[in-house]
């Protein structure tokens, strides 16, 4: 009884002081070659309003970790506590092609239980936030890649989660659009004060966006290193401070990758 109470209290504390608390999480998949450990004893907190990027080479289990935090899969060991259900944004926009941009957002509102009368104004407001006022009635295929990702961002924000999970959301965009969306995401993150856990394999992207960069090693994924990024906003991809830290992180990342070639 006392232990369950203590546990409940612990959980409440976790919910209020962390947007996400990942504790000793491991995940293994059983494949044809036997059981394979993908994530090994990951411990990571995301504070409310914090922007954290998860960085790593292929096979570090970044996306697996994000799926676990999103609740789409269960960890093999360890616990994950989040403040409510997180919103998730994918590399592909994942907008529903049978709905207009506005209706995609409204579906998210509807599934969250927002009354019908409030959905349309709320959707317009979110489109305004991602600077797509005219796009309400547009079908997904009528929008450019960057616009689709912004609608996807608006839809994720429509869930009104305290935590936004992003799985390489800009990886498929051209460099110019990506750069603009970095600025956009930074602006929206600062305006909404949502916590972000952002997965990428692009070092500059990680440094440019985050307050904290977490480097994962590969096979299995472990937390290899962490950096605080104190470069003031607005940041630019070409800022020397961004470049300097990127060089340092890249060195470390390369070291992690090199280890795999040695045996």
């Amino acid at each position: 009884m006392a232990t369950t109470l203590a546990k409940a209290a612990e959980e409440i504390r976790a919910e209020t002081t962390h947007a996400a608390r990942i504790e000793h999480v491991s995940k293994s998949f059983t494949g044809p070659a036997g059981s394979q450990l993908v994530l090994d004893d990951i411990t990571l907190d995301v504070a409310p309003g914090e922007f954290v990027t998860l960085l790593g080479a292929s096979g570090c289990g970044k996306s697996t970790l994000l799926n676990l935090v999103a609740g789409l899969d269960k960890p093999s060991a360890g616990t994950i506590a989040t403040d409510g259900r997180p919103a998730l944004m994918f590399q592909e926009h994942a907008l529903f092609p049978w709905l207009t941009a506005g209706k995609n957002i409204e579906l998210a509102l509807k599934l969250r239980g927002v009354p019908k009368a409030e959905r349309r104004p709320k959707a317009e407001e979110l489109l305004e936030l991602v600077r797509l006022h005219g796009a309400y009635g547009k079908r997904v295929h009528e929008l450019s890649g960057g616009m689709r990702q912004r609608v996807a961002l608006a839809r994720a924000l429509a869930q009104d989660s305290r935590l936004l999970l992003m799985d390489e959301p800009f990886a498929a965009l051209d460099a110019i659009t990506r750069d603009v969306l970095h600025d956009e995401l930074t602006r929206i993150w600062r305006e909404t004060n949502v916590s972000v856990l952002f997965v990428t394999h692009n070092v500059r992207e990680a440094v440019r966006l985050a307050q904290r960069v977490v480097l994962l090693s590969s096979r299995p994924g472990r937390v290899a290193h962490e950096w605080r990024v104190d470069i003031p906003h607005p940041r630019r991809i070409e800022d020397s401070a961004v470049a300097e830290l990127s060089v340092e992180i890249t060195e470390q990342l390369r070291g992690e990758i090199r280890r795999h070639g040695q045996h």
Binding site: L72, L88, F90, E92, A94, F96, R139, V180, D183, R187
Partner: protein
Amino acid sequence: MASTETKEAGDSQDLAGLEAGLDALETTAGPVRTPVRQVLVQKVLPPLTAVLLVLVVWQALVSFKVVDDPSKLPSPSAVWNEVREAWLQGTLLDYIWTSVSRGLLGFVFALAIGTPLGLIVARVRFIRAAIGPILSGLQSLPSVAWVPPAVLWLGLENKMMYAVILLGAVPSIANGLVSGVDQVPPLFLRAGRTLGATGLRHTWHIVLPAALPGYLAGLKQGWAFSWRSLMAAEIIASSPELGVGLGQLLENGRNASSMPMIFLAIFLILIVGIAIDLLIFSPLERRVLRGRGLLVKS
């Protein structure tokens, strides 16, 4: 502090302008409506030419006495007279309506049964393993095979016609929905779940709309099967109480050894089958595909 704020406001303005520029550059103007003339030339003219060509060859076969027996190949004018006569007697529309009303009503029944059946087969693993193979197997069974047992079970009544239509169309409709559901990109399912859609809401808001193109293809095929099975049933099982549909018309023509009547019946069966597809299913399918940007230019 004030200076950084103004700097940021300026940056935000910059960003808005930059973004508006990118959006404008990357989106193309909406599709231009094809002019009527072009539609006529590209869409209407070719099939009309083909039909005309067939008529010319047909008339030539008769005129140059290549086929010299009117009981084997009637002239186009003899068939036209048959049409006129049926029209003047007021029976032409009756023939068509008898069959079309049967076909459409049967199809609606098939829809009402095939849709939930397809959904259950697609979503419940045990049921899929149990009846999935039978369902796809039934699709390759010619529905005319059902006519003799249906006559024995249900007698020479409308019920029997509907039974044959159902046995022909339900597997197509159900299978269409099953393959539609199977082809839903997993990304949509995941996206739906992260948005909080579970159970029936997941099915209604995500799975069904995503499966719609496959389902419509199944409907189209289901209609073709309905119409074929109905014609088979009408030809084999004719009885005075059943009224004269297009199938019976064909059978009557054979009994009366009237080649013009047989030709009339065949043409009507063909034309009705095509017309229903062109008037109902094709526009529906085009609308759905165009809305999703899956129809580039047709």
